[in-house]
């Protein structure tokens, strides 16, 4: 599997034991091709799209976790993690909803929690959050304690019996 991938795609590196987990690190141009190739190979289930904020390298790391329902027994044991990195300022990426339809809520989540704009997504509307934030709240430089002090602690108590007004 790893040898096959390395021979087909340029500039990727794979690691892992090959039985339970294979990590594929690739450039951001190859990701969509890689996902559609893996889907045709038999990894037909997108389990999760996750994101890691690599603030020291000034990059965001996207992780696509794929598994298989339709393949043979060896394939069903295997999870494939496709990792890629995109720049942290004004992050944009292509949507995976054309390949996996269930990517839509994951991408909406990443859009509002990390501020990544997915080009071609049918509806990037807010999913969880009600308030608006200056910095997307799951980034490392979002100071939650300062935000709580500025917003929630400024709201006064209503009853004045206990002396906390």
């Amino acid at each position: 599997m790893q040898y096959e991938l390395r021979s087909m795609f340029e500039g990727i590196s794979t690691e892992g034991d090959g039985e339970t987990r294979v990590t594929v690190k690739c450039r951001k141009e190859t990701v969509i091709t890689m996902l559609s190739f893996l889907k045709k190979t038999g990894f037909d289930h997108l389990a999760l799209i996750s994101c890691v904020d690599r603030i020291n390298n000034n990059e965001l790391e996207l992780v696509y976790i794929l598994s298989s329902y339709g393949g043979d027994a060896a394939m069903q044991k295997l999870n494939i993690l496709v990792k890629t990195r995109i720049p942290r300022e004004n992050p944009q990426f292509y949507t995976a909803t054309e390949i996996f339809r269930n990517a839509s809520p994951y991408e909406r989540e990443l859009h509002e929690l990390f501020g990544i704009f997915f080009r071609g997504h049918p509806g990037l509307t807010p999913l969880f959050l009600e308030r608006e934030y200056d910095i997307p709240p799951f980034r490392k430089d979002f100071d939650t304690r300062k935000y709580v002090k500025d917003v929630f602690d400024q709201i006064p108590f209503v009853d004045d019996k206990k002396g906390r007004t």
Binding site: L129, E130, R131, P137, T144, R145, V148, I155, F157, D159
Partner: protein, 194 residues
């Protein structure tokens, strides 16, 4: 029936009736709801205390908020609370509605529930045992007896402050105010500021 209570029944039959027919609305916000099924079913049988779960807020008079309150659920907590008929009692269950609990520095949970709706009693702990619900219920009985469970009256009295706090977190609310709002306060404050 306890013979000592006969005097109370003659004195304030309304209070005694409310004490023993608490129709509870469980707002399943967080992990606290996991304690509620054993509480209301045969293991701890909340109906011994006259507590029975109901389906809608319009039938309820005891509001149990079980778990953390995020900004999104606060909107529906306020709507449910305003739909309940008076007299109504609110009990915060677990440490998260009290002061945030383990979500004290979270970006999306409100920290003090009593800034937004009046709360008559708290059950501290993370998580409280089902027995703690009954301690709270029996304590609520004594509060009703003494006339101290007056959260709903406080909500009427300070409705302007509560509504202002709610709008600070949720932005513009899409439902009309339940009671009248004193707008003069703001104007007078502006005058003082000028």
């Amino acid at each position: 029936m306890d013979r000592n209570n006969i005097g109370k029944w003659f004195k304030s039959p309304g209070n005694m009736g409310q004490k023993y027919s608490l129709h509870a609305l469980y707002f399943c916000t967080g992990c606290g709801i996991i304690e509620i099924p054993p509480t209301i079913t045969t293991r701890w049988d909340a109906e011994r205390f006259g507590v029975i779960p109901v389906a809608t807020p319009r039938q309820a008079n005891l509001f149990l908020i079980t778990g953390y309150v995020s900004v999104k659920t606060l909107r529906y907590i306020i709507r449910s609370y305003e739909q309940m008929p008076e007299p109504k009692y609110t009990v915060g269950f677990g440490s998260c509605p009290i002061n945030g609990g383990m979500y004290w520095d979270s970006y999306n949970t409100i920290k003090h529930l009593d800034k937004y709706i009046p709360v008559d009693g708290w059950i501290a702990g993370c998580m409280p045992r089902p027995e703690a619900v009954f301690v709270a219920v029996t304590h609520l009985w004594t509060l009703i007896d003494k006339g101290m469970a007056t959260g709903y009256l406080k909500y009427r009295e300070h409705y302007t402050k509560y509504r202002r706090n709610q709008e600070k977190v949720l932005g513009k609310l899409e439902w009309p105010p339940l009671f009248s709002i004193e707008e003069e306060n703001e104007k007078s404050r502006e005058k003082v500021a000028v």
